[in-house]
Subunit: 504 residues, 2 copies
Amino acid sequence: MATDATTAEAYDRLVERIERISNVGNAAGVLRWDQEVIMPEAGTPARAKQLSTLSSIGHELLTDEETGELLASLESVELDPERAAVVREVRRKYDRETSVPGELVEKLSEATTNAHPVWRRAREDDDFEAFAPTLEELVELKREYAAHVDPDADPYAVLFADYEPYLELETAEAVLGELRDALVELIDAVADSDAELATDAFAGEFDADAQEALCRDALDALGYDWDRGRLDTAPHPFSSGTQFDARVTTRFDESDPLGSLTSTIHEFGHANYTLGLPDDAYGTPLGQARDLTVHESQSRLWENHVGRSRAFWEFFLPTVRERFPDLAELTAREAYEAANQVYDDNLIRVEADELTYHLHIVIRFEIERELIAGDLEVSAVPHVWNEKYEEYLGVRPETDTEGCLQDIHWSHGSFGYFPTYSLGSVLAAQLYAAAEDDLGELDGRIREGKFDDLNRWLRENVHAHGQRYTTPELVERATGEAFTADPFLEYVEGKYGELYGLET
Amino acid sequence: MATDATTAEAYDRLVERIERISNVGNAAGVLRWDQEVIMPEAGTPARAKQLSTLSSIGHELLTDEETGELLASLESVELDPERAAVVREVRRKYDRETSVPGELVEKLSEATTNAHPVWRRAREDDDFEAFAPTLEELVELKREYAAHVDPDADPYAVLFADYEPYLELETAEAVLGELRDALVELIDAVADSDAELATDAFAGEFDADAQEALCRDALDALGYDWDRGRLDTAPHPFSSGTQFDARVTTRFDESDPLGSLTSTIHEFGHANYTLGLPDDAYGTPLGQARDLTVHESQSRLWENHVGRSRAFWEFFLPTVRERFPDLAELTAREAYEAANQVYDDNLIRVEADELTYHLHIVIRFEIERELIAGDLEVSAVPHVWNEKYEEYLGVRPETDTEGCLQDIHWSHGSFGYFPTYSLGSVLAAQLYAAAEDDLGELDGRIREGKFDDLNRWLRENVHAHGQRYTTPELVERATGEAFTADPFLEYVEGKYGELYGLET
């Protein structure tokens, strides 16, 4: 193992460089948080310029010749596993960013900036044709992008790797296929069930301030570190920051207290992952989160396996009643049923339940896969979209606004992002099952409001590693097996079988 | 006038470079605002690294060889006055930053970072000796810094120019001397006066939420553009931002509603200046504020000439009564008197009134001037400080905590900053008098809550120019005369003569 002065020096210089890049990126993160949460409206033009400058400085620092030289020098010697992991991660980003010509990066940036208002107006006006030329341009530019990164690869696989670099697209595709087949069947059974869930348990008006207090109660209970975080409101809830300062946002709808609570717990999962990254590796890949599948596994684990569990409602009901005295008669079972109601006629992804959610994902995935492959014309998207909704969910959108125009992602040029939503849920189930294998059943602890053991298990098995391992390695080490949909399918079949009285 | 392609291209490249530098600096401004106002406590270590990275990137962009080449090429041709002003401003910063060795910059940065907790503890413990070695080191490093910038100049003049680059130190010194002589006499007369002002007009408890509402009322009335700003709380009120987003902070003391109101109006003055800078020059010197004297003139003009005027209290009293029904019996005259009470036994600068304030400034100025000149030992500071308080203000601090340790500035290495506080007040009076020369007496308009004419005058004569003119040029153009203390002295003598029934 080489530890001579030159190697040590090259490594230190590489780390110094990526720490700078991280600091620039984290500064941009603060600017974006500010923009989403508190920036006065008229601040946009200056903020856009600040963010664009930081982004181009980050790009220049990464693609500088010196980065390449340091990487080459460090790859020519044997490094200890941690350093080798750092070099692996920097290399991956370096190769991506240097392979794409600056001109194309600028075109893409301009196209996505312009696309956003076009998409927004098209959605408002239910006018897919107004968005179609923009979507065509974005698909074309992204195909070009993929060809630069790897001319021999499936272009969709290249794009997917921007969000999940280490799971094979074939694996993702197989898992999504399994989900589709199993969930279509399960949702059919739910739709046919005679079970009457307490779906109106949270009917009425719920003051936003009381909702906020309840969300803070939940964060307290789950162990959110307020010295390193905040809760604020944002039009689209998100979480961002570093292990020193990872913030959560939510939003309030006075007719739906479950919405704010669920999104708070979801974003807590993200922030809690960030806060579990090692302090002393701040600014390097060892102190940064593994990619979107793992990140989403953390949010979905807390949202679904904890926050939508019967045990959680038994624990949390008294707090809910305290904040909303009108709910004095509500039982934990009713709350649990309301929180897990399956909306088999819902068309909107972000309003979907734990089962139908994945069919929304699968449909967009299947369509964008074909778009990028060149096997589907943009103009055919609405028709194909509606057919698939009919086929998988038994509902057909009457407008494109509530159909293929509903989500923002394509206007950002984000093709290949969607699958990670489902992959994250699948991994959440796998990790939760592994945690229970190690710790024993967790229901009892959740019922008592004790989340420490679970959190410690996640810290040790997931958070603490940063990007030390690839996604498959991380999964294998944490669960003892390869990435698999089995625990997820077992989980939903058990849970919804019981809720809807299905034969299992 | 050269307008050939090469010159135009060089100018564009210079502007592109300084826009980048400004964007990096403005991003750092957002990070500092966040740190002061809402960042969770534990975020400090990461935030310090982010800020340090941005600062060194800004330094590298400015001192890059290309900046020097572009400046030299642009200085060899005749430019139109606006472009020439941009080149002048960039040259000044470039020369400063390139003349100081990186090693010294780092030493200074480290020394001031370390000095802050030492000063804070020394102040808490009333232990000047604990701070003395640190202060000695800072004085020494700042002398070195000055010698690098200009080995032939008075080192204090070099430091002063970091905060006020265009007023001569001799001018500043003469003005401060005039202030000292006139104010010592005026304060003596006030102390001897039998007048009984309504000093307890705001006795009682004042709910912080109602104070905040009142501060928002004041900002509404003055014409603060909420689409481009916010009001928040911070331990040390400040204002920051750009013409697209200039935010105000204040703080609340439940026993002192005048404190939060006054600091809000003061910070409004700063923010209002920033908001008046031209949008289309964002990121260049033409879209940036002239230095601290002019900035402070804007805050002091609104704080004192507007906010502490009798006309303002006649206008604003109904609003105050609405927020604080207990004050139903308060008259405008009483409020005016309470807002202008002279505290002739006060030892603390930030709690001082409009008269004694400047003696606090003068004392620190005289001391730091001698320290930097090498004419005063650090160990002698407390004694000299106390002697001067006795001489100028007739009060003697019993501790260094309420004496020379009270202010943070020296621990930041900010020597030469203090004079701009008084120079700003002096300029405020000069600008206000000039505005009244142009617009006629403003009292009537203030009494009706009409601030548009004054604001328009300030926009046209001060804000819109950014750094187009040097400070003396700006003053001359706006007021028709050179920078002078006469209007200030006339203002305080008239106002306090009436308030305290002095012979004039």
